[in-house]
């Protein structure tokens, strides 16, 4: 396939901070933590880094803050911003540079410091000045409208619908208890989820991911060089992005799926030569900013048939011991969502799982791991889908 990234680039080192209310750490501190863990994991020195793709939404402008924090002076550093898909896009750009042969060792790193805002929700919505007439929706409000429509379209009563998406959160919270780097590490019962205060109807508190600080990093080299760094590198099989912005204009958008996810998935499966995603993908870390987002993503990625994800959720298909474990690390649900870091945090879990180093969360021989990172809100989404393997 012309232009395919498949098997051309490998990840040879990764790092990830603890995610949470990291009151004691600045963005710089977290960049240092994530980068130096990745250096050590790859067995390299800071001086070996030739170029950096540095992802952050609100915690730094230009590559300058990265150069300052890591003392990587006078190298090419690109600051990447693609909303919640920022970190995945940093890795995608770094991978293409390595594949092009313009650098041998590249660093992709993402960071976000959200908890200095003084707010419990997202602290800033960015600042393009407009006529200001669009409704003052919030992130939960935007995704809640998918849940409303999903319930309506598939004939679920509010109670049935809330149970369906509630089970998504219960599953992720269980996985989070097995992860010392997660922000939330406790079980929640379905009853607790259903009785929680409503944030944006029909989404309650536990349908929403947390807000936290964090950073994650990856070292990329050409696939043929990977074994020089470590015996168990993880190869990139597909990197696909799909950006759409038409659903609020087109009356035929159904609000029960994210077309960009479907499109990115199609192309990623083609690039990775995956014929049957439900059977071949061994684990997935998807963008569960809200429980409903994870539910419809299962359908958009063709893990579940349209309108049928409820059956798979109820049967435990996506549980850690199920047919296709999803969010084995606890997901955004338990890690929270430091905007510019989450995409690389997903890839960190996938990397550890493929190497068999996920400890009590270890999935038996996952072979192919998928990560899905969503920027923006429905129906205008910027989607990254990556597939990785041995």
């Amino acid at each position: 396939m012309a232009g395919s990234i498949k098997d051309r680039v490998a990840i040879v080192g990764m790092g990830c901070t603890k995610f949470g209310e990291n009151w004691e750490m600045s963005a710089d501190d977290m960049l240092v933590e994530a980068a130096y863990e990745a250096y050590e994991d790859a067995g390299i020195e800071p001086k070996d880094i030739e170029a950096v793709w540095y992802g952050t939404c609100w915690s730094g402008e230009t590559g300058g803050p990265l150069a300052g924090a890591l003392k990587l002076q006078y190298r090419p550093i690109t600051r990447v911003e693609n909303a919640c898909a920022t970190a995945s896009d940093a890795l995608r750009n770094a991978a293409y540079a390595v594949a092009a042969g313009v650098c041998d060792i590249a660093l992709a790193i993402g960071v976000e410091k959200l908890k200095d805002s003084g707010f419990s929700g997202l602290g800033s919505a960015g600042g393009i000045m407009t006529s200001g007439v669009r409704p003052n929706t919030t992130a939960p409000g935007n995704f809640a409208m998918m849940a409303t429509k999903y319930f309506s379209r598939y004939g679920l009563s509010p109670d049935e619908g809330k149970r369906m998406i509630g089970m998504v959160s219960v599953k992720s919270h269980h996985n989070g208890t097995l992860n010392p780097r997660a922000h939330f590490q406790r079980e929640v019962s379905l009853d607790t989820v259903l009785k929680a205060p409503i944030i944006a109807w029909p989404l309650g508190l536990f349908d929403c991911c947390g807000v936290s600080d964090g950073s994650a990093a990856a070292i990329l080299v050409r696939a043929e060089d990977a074994k020089k760094f470590r015996p168990d590198p993880v190869r990139i099989k597909a990197l696909r992005m799909s950006v759409g912005n038409e659903g609020l204009i087109r009356s035929d958008y159904d609000f029960t799926h994210v077309e960009s996810t479907y499109q990115a998935g199609l192309r990623a499966y083609e690039e990775a030569e995956v014929k049957n995603p439900r059977e071949e993908i061994g684990m997935a870390e998807v963008h569960d900013c809200f429980s409903i987002t994870e539910a419809v993503t299962m359908e958009d990625l063709q893990f579940s048939p349209r309108g049928k994800v409820k059956e798979d959720i109820e049967s435990g298909f996506f549980n850690l011991d199920g047919g296709l474990p999803v969010q084995p690390d606890g997901g955004l649900k338990c890690f929270g969502h430091p905007i510019g870091a989450s995409g690389l945090r997903m890839i960190y879990e996938m990397y550890k799982q493929l190497q068999g180093k996920a400890g009590p969360r270890q999935i038996k021989n996952p072979k192919l791991g998928l990560t899905h990172n969503l920027g923006g809100g429905p129906p205008a989404c910027t989607i990254f889908v990556g597939i990785f393997g041995e």
Partner: protein
């Protein structure tokens, strides 16, 4: 003969029983209830809604002027009538003027419009009047003042009530006043203001117009005159020489003293019941008095499909609490929501977007026929570039495709209900929803558009459209 060619009115949905106000402060209740504007309404939005009611079935391009009368304009330097004219999608080569600073400013606007029409300077002028005055806590005005609006279309063609004649008198009496910057209405002693002002001057103007027209009070089918409260309004009937059945209810027990809007709201209520040949007296009061007499024609039967006073009186909902009333009036200081501050509004961007914001224009692709909102350069369906024509969406009904009730987003009437709707005829948009009961909102529900104030940013009152449950 020129006169009234159409009428309309608006009364906000919410009502506050006066016993509730009285109970809050331990003062005697005045009886009845008052109409209370929602937090997103003001005199401009209410006047716009009354004008829309008045324009039902009328070609908006035929209107040559828009006069807006109020004592509660949100701006002291920016014309409210231009905002209303744009929201109504009237032509730009029309007369606009704001009439203010007196409770009879609506009557003055009618007189000015009639003068322009009779002089041949205009064929058709819309007068729309609204008020939303506030009385200080525990005072009489807090209970008596209500909110509302009326609109009259005046012109030469299709006249439903001919303007027979008018009378005006002016007096610099300081019975009630608000100085620049005052929030609450001040007044001199009640007995003096009513005895020397209202009770003397209003009959003087009424008698003036009747004399001019050689009419006796018995010739009148109805008298629609201002009343500061029900008792004084009723007592004035004897002075005017009217029998009880000639007196049009002044809406005090149901709406309240709506200030500048009141006399014309009462007139609209009278017109709703009037039959051809009826003579109706209308009198407004404030720093003098204005009176006119109209005679109803057969054509009135053609403008019956109005919400007017009657339908708006019937459609009502109690405001959930007195505290909510204080909040909507911004009379209490609330703990600020722990949310990021709103991004400042760009006035230049707002100006550029005027057509898509005020008259709510979308675009329709001439190549494939698809309607889209906001207006697009490149068609979302067929991708043709710059093949668009404008289409007004503010007068279209729509259907809720999906919605949420957002508790996180700031709102003076939480939860913040957001709807994605599909317009009849095509086009989709996302709008806040207002005047709704959250538990009644449903996918598939029919909605209509209502002109509202979104927020105030550094003195910029940002007006836009919201959805509300469709009426009828």
């Amino acid at each position: 003969m020129a006169g009234i060619t159409s009428y309309g009115a608006y009364i906000p949905l919410h009502r506050l029983p006066r016993t509730q106000i009285a109970a809050a402060w331990g003062v005697p209740p005045q009886g009845g209830e008052k109409a209370v504007r929602n937090f997103d309404e003001d005199s401009i939005t209410m006047a716009t809604t009354a004008a829309i009611d008045c324009l039902n079935g009328i070609d908006r391009s035929t209107i040559d002027g828009l006069y807006f009368a109020t004592t509660t304009s949100p701006y002291t330097e920016r014309q409210g009538s231009t905002i209303i004219a744009s929201a109504l999608d009237l032509r730009s080569d029309i007369r606009t003027a704001d009439f203010s600073n007196s409770l009879r400013c609506g009557m003055e606007a009618v007189a000015a419009a009639m003068d322009a029409i009779n002089a041949g300077a205009a064929n058709s002028i819309m007068v729309t009047v609204a008020d939303t005055r506030i009385g200080a806590a525990q005072g009489d005005f807090e209970q008596s003042f209500g909110d509302g609006a009326a609109a009259l279309l005046l012109g030469k063609d299709n006249v439903i009530a001919t303007m027979e004649g008018s009378y005006t008198m002016t007096a610099p009496i300081m019975d009630r006043w608000r100085a620049a910057g005052d929030t609450f209405v001040r007044a001199w002693e009640d007995r003096w203001t009513l005895d020397e002002g209202y009770t003397k001057m209003l009959p003087q103007a009424a008698a003036g117009v009747l004399k001019k027209l050689n009419l006796e009070p018995k010739d009148l089918a109805k008298a629609a005159y201002y009343g500061p409260n029900g008792r004084r309004h009723g007592a004035l009937a004897r002075r005017l020489g009217l029998d009880a059945e000639q007196v049009q209810d002044c809406l005090f027990d149901t709406v309240g003293d709506t200030g500048a809007a009141q006399s014309l709201m009462i007139l609209v209520a009278a017109l709703e019941e009037a039959k051809a040949g009826d003579k109706i007296l209308c009198v407004g009061y404030g720093n003098g008095a204005d009176a006119f007499v109209v005679q109803v024609t057969d054509a009135i039967e053609k403008v019956r499909d109005r919400r007017g006073i009657k339908q708006h009186l019937a459609a009502k909902r109690p405001i959930p609490s007195f505290e909510k009333y204080l909040r909507w009036r911004e009379l209490v200081t609330l703990e600020a929501a722990a949310r990021p501050e709103r991004i400042p509004t760009s006035v230049s961007a707002l100006w550029r977007d005027t057509m898509s914001v005020l008259p709510l224009y979308g675009s329709k692709c001439k190549a494939c026929g698809t309607q889209q909102y906001p207006p697009q350069r490149v068609c979302i369906i067929c991708k043709e570039k710059d093949q668009m024509e404008s289409v007004r969406l503010s007068d279209k009904k729509a259907t809720i495709f999906t919605f949420t009730h957002d508790n996180l987003a700031a709102s003076a009437d939480p939860p913040n209900t957001v709807t994605v709707v599909d317009f009849d005829g095509g086009g989709r948009g996302i709008f806040n929803m207002t005047d709704r009961e959250p538990e009644e909102v449903q996918v598939g529900q029919k909605v209509e558009m209502t002109f509202r104030k979104l927020y105030v940013d550094r003195g910029l009152h940002n007006y836009y459209w919201k959805t509300m449950p469709a009426i009828g």
